[in-house]
Symmetry: C2
């Protein structure tokens, strides 16, 4: 490797670290002091090269205007709801226990703001590979397709089941022979389970 290419690497690394630590990028002089360059003109030339190579973007004459064009991994950010208070919408502030982040690619292409997570209680879906304590990632929606796994409110409690609808008659099917399907009244779909996460 050429000596100057090593320097380019060093400068890029310094910018990344500085920005991470400070919350804002370094100045040319701060860079020069930290990569063993006495001249800020040298720094400028390196930054010009880094920009040409696509590693950074700059805006002329603006201070600290180094924009690292890093390839961030896309993520979604959603709340974890705990015990759902009777009568409240499921995403009400007081139901939210925590917030989590996961890579967008781990779920489908869903709108960030319509996702939430729910801890599954009980073993009624165990034959679908959903265990007690698993975290279900849910997309808020008022209806799901037959055979999909839904989160539904049944008498003010959230439950995870297979959803079926036949002539306006809704039934929620467990995946466990020990349980009976739930049918009929007071069932409202609040979302579709799009992912399951289990901590072992």
């Amino acid at each position: 490797m050429k000596k100057s290419e090593q320097k380019m690497q060093d400068i890029l690394s310094f910018i990344e670290e500085y920005t991470k630590n400070s919350g804002y990028p370094p100045t040319y002089r701060e860079i020069s002091a930290n990569v063993n360059l006495k001249s800020i003109n040298s720094v400028k030339k390196y930054l010009d090269r880094l920009e040409l190579s696509g590693y950074i973007k700059k805006s002329g004459f603006k201070s600290r205007s180094i924009d690292l064009v890093k390839q961030e991994i896309p993520t979604v950010n959603f709340p974890v709801v705990g015990r759902v208070a009777a009568g409240q919408p499921i995403l009400a502030e007081q139901n939210i226990e925590d917030r989590l982040v996961i890579s967008s690619s781990l779920i489908g292409n869903y709108d960030d703001s319509l996702l939430f997570a729910l801890k599954v209680r009980g073993d009624s879906m165990i034959d679908a590979g959903i265990n007690d304590g698993d975290l279900a990632i849910v997309h808020s929606q008022n209806t799901v397709e037959n055979g999909e796994i839904a989160v539904a409110m049944v008498e003010d409690k959230a439950t995870v089941k297979y959803f079926y609808k036949n002539k306006d008659k809704i039934s929620l099917h467990p995946a466990n022979a020990l349980y009976q399907p739930i049918e009929g009244k007071n069932i409202s779909v609040v979302g579709k389970v799009v992912a399951i996460i289990r901590k072992i």
Copy 2:
């Protein structure tokens, strides 16, 4: 809410958005132009208040030195390994298909650099709630405790099984009555399964 408190909120929001979009924080003048304040002195006073309130940190006389003290959700970042090439270490560059991010709280307290993910093939662990196609998050380690779920190399293929060891005799137990345990030779543990993620 006081009128000035609303302004504080607006300014904070603007700084967050600007920083996210640009990669560096705004100047006082850029803020003043975007929150309907004609005087940069007003901006300074608000920033001083925001700093006193702990929302930002500044460094005197430095341009764009607004450090948002946002409470980021802690995450871990790890590679997804695909088909493991025979003879190669599992984390070899050519085995890595992708990189993912998840909240640290979704797994135990493990070292970021020792984690990887692996797509589970087959239904041999189905009674443990691990389905074909599930993503296993794995912590690299050479040994696991009896009864834990391990990733082991058996004849150059990675497999997920319950691990048992009795007098130096290792056996890997499936969670499916249709399969037999694997015993004996050519088994090396590469990690412990710490989480399961399933996209539905």
